[in-house]
Symmetry: C2
DNA sequence: TATATATTTGACAAATAATGTCAAGACAAT
DNA sequence: ATTGTCTTGACATTATTTGTCAAATATATA
């Protein structure tokens, strides 16, 4: 299973970009990008969208990977992870059907 | 659909406890508990476990409600919520099967 | 080996978010 | 009006996230 960091690093290298070059495009310090690619630090949503743009990756897909990573990390340690995900699904449905459409 | 706050308030009132009494048992300010019961502030895991203990609620169940609340809140705004949950499920499986058993 | 370039690491600062404290306000019952 | 309960909001404290930087490490090549 490929991590977010691996996806980013693979794509960057495939495009022949240096870490500092991509970092410059993203307007962040190369040290941060290095840590993100090694999954030592988590990118935020804004950065994910920028990355998808620059690396020509599907925005929705990368975002889904990013959010699911966060969730998996949150609940992996719990032994009720399956139940949690089922409940979350229900709640999302509920929120969607009951929220005010803008 | 019952929220965490509602579950707590219902049970507290059913047990005939005043807000300040339960707050004292939990060793928190009544203002905080008031906000938690109205879902204005989120309890943390430690508090959830204390609450389950004192209110005689199932620990696993309350914890599952609490975590799924957090997740649903995180992803409800995304329009790829379903995909995110499916991915999270896979990742949890992966983490579980690949993590070192203590 | 020496030099240049790229990445990693860790210490630290700054910004942001979570949590705790408190007093005044609102509400209901008597 | 007084008492008791809960709510609200301003503020302080603490924790977490995010950003900055320079030194250390790694890699390649003359």
């Amino acid at each position: 299973m490929e991590t977010i960091g691996q996806i980013i690093r693979n794509k960057r290298e495939h495009l022949g970009l240096l870490l500092r070059q991509l970092a410059a495009s993203l307007d962040i310090d190369p040290a941060i990008l290095s840590k993100i690619e090694r999954n030592e630090r988590k990118p935020n949503k804004e950065l994910i969208l920028k990355l998808a743009e620059i690396l020509e990756l599907d925005k929705e897909e990368l975002l889904a990977q990013y959010i699911s990573d966060k969730i998996a990390y949150d609940i992996a340690e719990e032994d009720c992870a399956d139940r949690v995900l089922k409940l979350a699904e229900k709640k999302v449905q509920y929120i969607k059907t009951h929220s005010v459409k803008s």
